[in-house]
């Protein structure tokens, strides 16, 4: 049920003035996660753990295609249908009518016999127990007519196409000045091609859903980052009206972009539950996650930098090729950050798309920057070396306070890159780095340092919230936002508490339910800013309502310790709320500040690595990131986000590589034993530090994004440290020991 009265969101089209959040009594403090006790005691149910009270839920197991292209020749489900406990086997032959055609927000399953990728659903087996469904699923015999598949990005480059733009503000290509001429005329040039592999999100919780029907109304318990798009996808695919769908996702075991898309677990649990008249739950197995869900595409990136002898960049060119299935519009925006990071007169960026018949490519933490900076910031390191210039100094030299493509008419809302670079260099002991690689040796270890800049775009999305104060003085705040493990429950609690002068224990946050006011969801580092602003506006409305009820002037009253205070008079909020309680709603509607101002979070990464001179093994020894993220909403969760991103960077630099099998179009290393992400032993001292910053242009919280910034540039810092340690320059991520080994000198 949506709230009775429509919410009137506030248009945010001019910089925020002073507001109660500036007090920072509660906001900013590193308070422990409010949902922490539930999680560590196992009382926060994740989608698959939700028990339907009717106790009648059935369990579905998916059967996925094992070829990349072709069609189902024969499908024999007779044995499965007659296996113990089996209630239903769905295939393309007996699927109910679905919406179409397939698109980002319409995901028909088993619509026909065509196989478009390895990992596509070809059957669903529903049984009384998981064991029965699983055993029966293994009995479904499918034979395919197989067609050749395109699985190699490099091989597809000659046939690459120009993808449609992702949005009006994100053109596919940009050209400013005359790149060819500027580059040709530059005194010092770098022209290097970097490759990054396919990567998997590898979030802890696999995708899972339970569908429960009440008449023609669907409730889906699932694990999704953006509930409104999930509900929309369910409605369009299952041919329902939006008001017939409720999506619940209060606890999410990580997403990293993977759970922005709605998959077969959601669609088919709903389909089967409708047909069987009983709740149905489906979870993907870990190997199925790799085929059925999305991944980050591999890229090939050519970076050209032309500079004067003093390091001033004259020309910057960045081209990127990435892959996706035919007809998909998502491409990796790997050159986008290059439009904003450094000044230079002549510049170009371009993106091209290669058809790959692999599982779907889509957003993974910091799509674009995460891999774009692996290339750009490595090229900057190469340029610094060519110039005999310190890599920090090179970046400082080319810092800018306005959008380098648009000119001074579009300044940055806030940009403290140079401060981050200097602060980081000082804290890290950068001056101890030898400019000549391979100079420092400790036993078998070659030790070196590297650094890179960090940038991640800032965004703001429409979001709404409702806030209700009851007669006990408890504030309940609801919004259809999600917390994917980032700490959203906690920061929203702090925002609400700050606004109403209440301690965290008097604030109840309700998230993850489409019956609550619609919100941005989690993605693109906009979640905190967007949903936090909605909570801010809802609470601001509640303050006005409370002040009025007290007969106070809303502009002159303070909220402290559960009281409203004006001119020495204090009234308790609980008494004002009374038995009926008092409620308000609010929301944010972004204006055009993102057009007028370039907005991004910035930072600087520093890494020290050891390279084993015998084996080429690389181990990170320490890392430091210094970031400007606007207001820090919670020192502890912000730090976790930052270092978590940096650890992603270690993974990208050293190990993450989900390898397609050329013949089958699936990912070979499709489990967490063989798809390597950093483990504890790979993550030594990793520290994050935030420079003082508030950004009133970003949003009323004056906060920018932090969820993805940590990964941006982190891997390049590690890569540059490998070079500094060993003298081995690798342009092909990840920098596994075999690649390092190939460049090492003979053993002495």
């Amino acid at each position: 049920m949506q709230s009775q009265t429509p919410i009137r969101p506030s248009l945010f089209d001019s910089p925020a003035g002073p507001n109660p959040l500036d007090q920072e009594h509660l906001l900013g403090r590193g308070i422990a996660r409010v949902d922490g006790p539930l999680k560590v005691s196992g009382r926060a149910p994740y989608a698959y753990e939700v028990h339907d009270p009717s106790n009648t839920a059935l369990v579905g197991v998916l059967v996925l295609s094992t070829v990349a292209q072709g069609s189902i020749r024969t499908l024999d489900a007779v044995a499965a249908e007659h296996a113990p406990g089996v209630r239903l086997v769905l295939t393309h032959r007996n699927m109910q009518r679905q919406g179409g055609p397939a698109s980002e927000h319409c995901k028909p399953q088993m619509a026909d016999a065509t196989v478009r990728q390895n990992g596509q659903v070809v059957a669903l087996v529903v049984a009384d127990s998981f064991e029965q469904a699983n055993a029966a699923a293994a009995m479904v015999a499918v034979a395919y007519d197989v067609k050749p598949a395109l699985t190699d990005l490099a091989a597809g480059v000659p046939q690459a196409t120009v993808p449609p733009p992702r949005s009006p503000s994100q053109p596919v290509d940009t050209n400013v000045g005359d790149f060819a001429q500027g580059f040709a005329a530059a005194a010092v040039k770098i022209d290097a091609t970097y490759t990054t592999p396919h990567q998997a999100h590898a979030m802890m919780e696999p995708h899972a859903s339970m569908a429960v029907w009440d008449g023609d109304h669907l409730t889906l318990h699932t694990s999704h980052q953006m509930l409104s798009t999930c509900a929309q996808t369910l409605a369009s695919t299952l041919l329902l009206r939006p008001d017939q769908v409720r999506v619940l996702s209060p606890y999410i075991g990580g997403g990293f972009g993977s759970k922005l898309v709605t998959y077969a677990d959601a669609i088919l649990s709903a389909t089967a539950a409708r047909q069987l008249g009983r709740p149905v739950k489906i979870a993907l197995t870990r190997p199925q996650v790799f085929g059925q869900t999305t991944h980050r595409t591999a890229t090939i990136q050519r970076v050209r930098l032309g500079a004067d002898a003093d390091g001033t960049l004259r020309a910057i060119g960045h081209e990127s090729w990435s892959g996706n299935q035919q007809g998909q519009t998502f491409y990796e925006t790997a050159a986008n950050q290059t439009r904003l990071l450094y000044a230079a007169h002549d510049r170009m960026t371009a993106h091209r798309q290669v058809r790959l018949d692999l599982p779907l490519a889509s957003s993974m933490r910091a799509p674009g920057e995460a891999v774009g900076l692996l290339a750009l910031e490595c090229a900057m390191d190469e340029l610094a070396e060519r110039l005999r210039m310190d890599p920090v100094a090179l970046r400082v030299r080319n810092d800018t306070q306005y959008d380098p493509e648009k000119g001074p008419s579009r300044p940055f809302s806030s940009r403290r890159l140079t401060e981050c670079l200097h602060e980081g260099a000082a804290r890290f002991g950068w001056e101890k780095r030898s400019p000549v690689p391979g100079q420092r040796r400790e036993g078998q270890w070659l030790v070196g340092m590297g650094m890179a800049s960090a940038i991640r775009n800032v965004a703001l999305k429409p979001s709404n919230a409702e806030a209700t104060l009851d007669g006990r003085g408890i504030l309940t705040v609801g919004t259809a936002m999600t917390d994917i493990g980032t700490g959203t429950y906690t920061i929203l609690t702090q925002i609400a508490g700050e606004m109403l002068g209440l301690p965290p224990e008097r604030v109840v946050m309700q998230l993850g339910d489409t019956d609550l006011p619609e919100a941005s969801g989690s993605g693109g580092s906009f979640g905190a800013a967007s949903s936090g602003s909605a909570v801010y506006y809802a609470c601001a409305q509640l303050r006005i309502a409370l002040a009025r009820r007290a007969g106070f002037d809303p502009a002159r009253s303070r909220f402290e310790n559960g009281q409203i205070i004006q001119d020495g008079r204090a009234v308790s909020l609980a008494s004002l709320a009374g038995a009926q309680g008092i409620a308000a709603t609010g929301g944010i509607k972004p204006g055009d500040l993102l057009k007028k101002y370039a907005q991004a979070s910035f930072g600087a990464h520093f890494a020290e690595v050891g390279v084993d001179a015998d084996t080429g093994e690389v181990r990170v020894r320490r890392m430091l990131g210094v970031f400007g993220i606007g207001r820090v909403l919670n020192a502890s969760t912000a730090r976790s986000q930052a270092i978590g991103g940096m650890i992603f960077g270690i993974g990208a630099a050293l190990m993450e590589d989900v390898v397609p099998d050329r013949r089958h179009g699936d990912f070979v290393n499709h489990d967490l034993a063989e798809y390597h992400v950093p483990v504890h032993a790979d993550v030594p001292a990793v520290e994050a530090y935030f420079v003082e910053e508030v950004d009133p242009i970003a949003n009323p919280l004056k906060a920018k994004g932090v969820g993805e910034l940590g990964i941006c540039g982190a891997g390049a810092a590690v890569a540059n440290a490998i070079y500094n340690a060993s003298g081995v320059r690798i342009r092909d991520y990840p920098m596994t020991l075999d690649k390092v080994l190939a460049g090492l000198p003979d053993q002495a």
Partner: protein, 322 residues
Amino acid sequence: MRAFSYERPTQVAQAAHAATTHPDASYIGGGTNLLDLMKLDVAQPAHLVDVNRLPMERIELLNDGSLRIGALVRNSTLAADPHVRRHHAVLSRALLSGATAQLRNKATTAGNLLQRTRCYYFTDVSKACNKRVPGSGCEAIGGYNRIHAILGASASCIATHPSDMAVAMLALDAVVETDRRHIPIAELHRLPGDTPQIDNTLQPGELIVAVRLPPPVPSVQLYRKVRDRASYAFAAVSVAALIQARHGRIELARLAFGGVAHRPWRNHAAEQLLVGHAPSHALFERVADSVVTGAAGQGSNDYKIPLLRRTLVATLRQATEG
């Protein structure tokens, strides 16, 4: 996973009888390998004989100085055993380099020896694999084979044996004691040949009851495991080395290698090259050359040849340094 029946006998003879008479029976120890394979439908035992109640959980020091390690001794217990740490350090080191603390707490000595290959295509039932389905083909050949064998492989199978513990035991000349005989560990695991479905020389239903280590060999004992991340990764290559030197000459050398072949690999001829000689880089290079003689890569695992060479040289250097 398929439906199976289950029993948990308390006597060795009972267990062996059950496993021998029941068609498609399998022993289960810690289950850390077998259960994974059952969930993936790679292993489909119809009957499980749980060995965890059998009296095989002791580590005994025998009168002749040899050590008898019960088949059920957990990897973590064995690694922490004071006698093992002092006298068979290579074993302790190898164990601690493997898996994770949680897995080592569960994994048994026998189960570790008999764990199956980590070949990606073996564990994916949609792929052709001679080890899983004899005669179906080998998709690792011509596929992605970064973790595969460079020594002793065949045209039917290029899989590696993943155990670290077994490599150390091979260097220690361990003997596997079963319910019916003693098998030198060098004869336990096989090369794939054209029957890669057979990992080892055990007979149907044969139960490992213990592993015996001969009396300690006073020596520098190293286990060098090279891997793609700092922990929780199988060996790209590993070297177990026992080196005894006196008066500047090497008197005893035993070398075993992991991650390179279908079984833990040993090369006696290479060991002999060391004996009687003063340690030197040139000598180590000659030894390393002889170890990789005949080694062949399959594409993604080509790097293992120089890596094995260099790791061996580095290990020998370390074992003979001051």
